[in-house]
């Protein structure tokens, strides 16, 4: 008896790190089924780095904050373009979606909004510049997601 293969809506969280790229490539090689998968690549821009420009003791120069914000936006645009290219290279048909805010929370929120079947996330991300601890976003997602999560560790 042939089972009707159900469609999958797969969200891949990508922050531009090579680890998230590795996760996408793993997905493309081992999981991707063109006819049944709708792929959404989610990129979250975290503006916490730019909004708390300066220290607690000195008043923040608004123009500096604005500049830092613009810089983050530019970096994000570059990252998005790169994600489109990576998707094409991997032979995956997908849409890149942007979100703003705290990465873990945004991933959960968007995954629920879009009603995804599963989330794919690398265990590490851009650990160098960010103040987050390596793996904290994937940990957060695993513990708060309402759908299964695949954590890719390489």
């Amino acid at each position: 008896m042939a089972d009707s293969v159900n469609k999958r809506k797969i969200m891949i969280a990508m922050d531009g790190s090579e680890y998230s790229e590795g996760a996408l490539k793993w997905f493309a090689k081992n999981m991707y089924q063109k006819d049944r998968d709708e792929v959404i690549v989610l990129h979250v821009t975290d503006h916490r780095n730019s909004s708390s420009f300066g220290s607690n003791w000195m008043p923040v120069d608004p123009t500096m904050v604005h500049m830092a914000y613009k810089e983050e936006e530019e970096k994000a645009k570059v990252a998005i373009k790169k994600l489109d290219a990576i998707l094409m290279d991997a032979g995956v048909q997908g849409n890149v979606v942007r979100a703003h805010g705290i990465p873990g929370e945004q991933i959960i929120q968007k995954s629920e909004e879009l009603g995804v079947t599963m989330i794919i996330i690398a265990s590490r991300g851009l650990g160098k510049i960010r103040r987050t601890i390596l793996g904290s976003v994937s940990d957060y997602v695993v513990h708060h997601s309402s759908v299964p999560v695949i954590v890719c560790r390489h």
């Binding site: 599963m118 513990h143 954590v151």
Partner: protein, 155 residues
């Protein structure tokens, strides 16, 4: 020179961690519905709880507990083999005895060269000396392959 295997490596090996909890059955079902690719080898791995302490318990009690545990394992095996045949997939039910389930799961995945490991987020909680979720946490951080954490939002 002709290559022996011309097909791309699209078949994999899934190691699914099973315990007595309800989540295991749900995870297995979810895996088959949303994840399984025909040709994938499926290993249902069960690491029984080992709260039997031979040094502090009487031999009779140890034997009694062992028999209970074996009985539960057999029931579990039957349940999953039945489920697998109903879903129409070939699965191997394997039992590993180990103090630390996390380590055992990671080891089996390594030996079998698994494509991914499937775990739940909650375990038994009653007799385990572990905190809920610590096995899945360990597996996520130590497996050499991606880990599917089958999270089921409780109603």
């Amino acid at each position: 020179m002709a290559e022996g295997n011309t097909a791309p490596s699209s078949t994999g090996c899934a190691v699914i961690a099973i315990d007595d909890g309800e989540q295991s059955l749900w995870a297995f079902n979810w895996y088959v519905t949303n994840f399984h690719k025909p040709g994938n080898k499926v290993i249902l791995l069960h690491v029984p709880e080992s709260y039997i302490n031979a040094t502090t318990m009487s031999p009779g009690r140890v034997m009694e507990l062992q028999r209970e545990s074996d009985g539960k394992t057999t029931d579990l095996k039957q349940k999953f083999i039945d489920k697998a045949s109903k879903l129409g997939i070939e699965a191997e039910f394997r039992v590993e005895n180990a103090d630390k389930p996390g380590h055992a799961i990671v080891d089996v995945a390594q030996k079998e060269n698994a494509t991914f490991v499937v775990t739940g987020t909650r375990g038994m909680g009653k007799f385990r000396r572990t905190i809920m979720g610590s096995v899945s946490d360990f597996v996520v951080h130590h497996a050499h392959c991606p880990v599917l954490v089958c999270r089921h939002k409780d109603k």
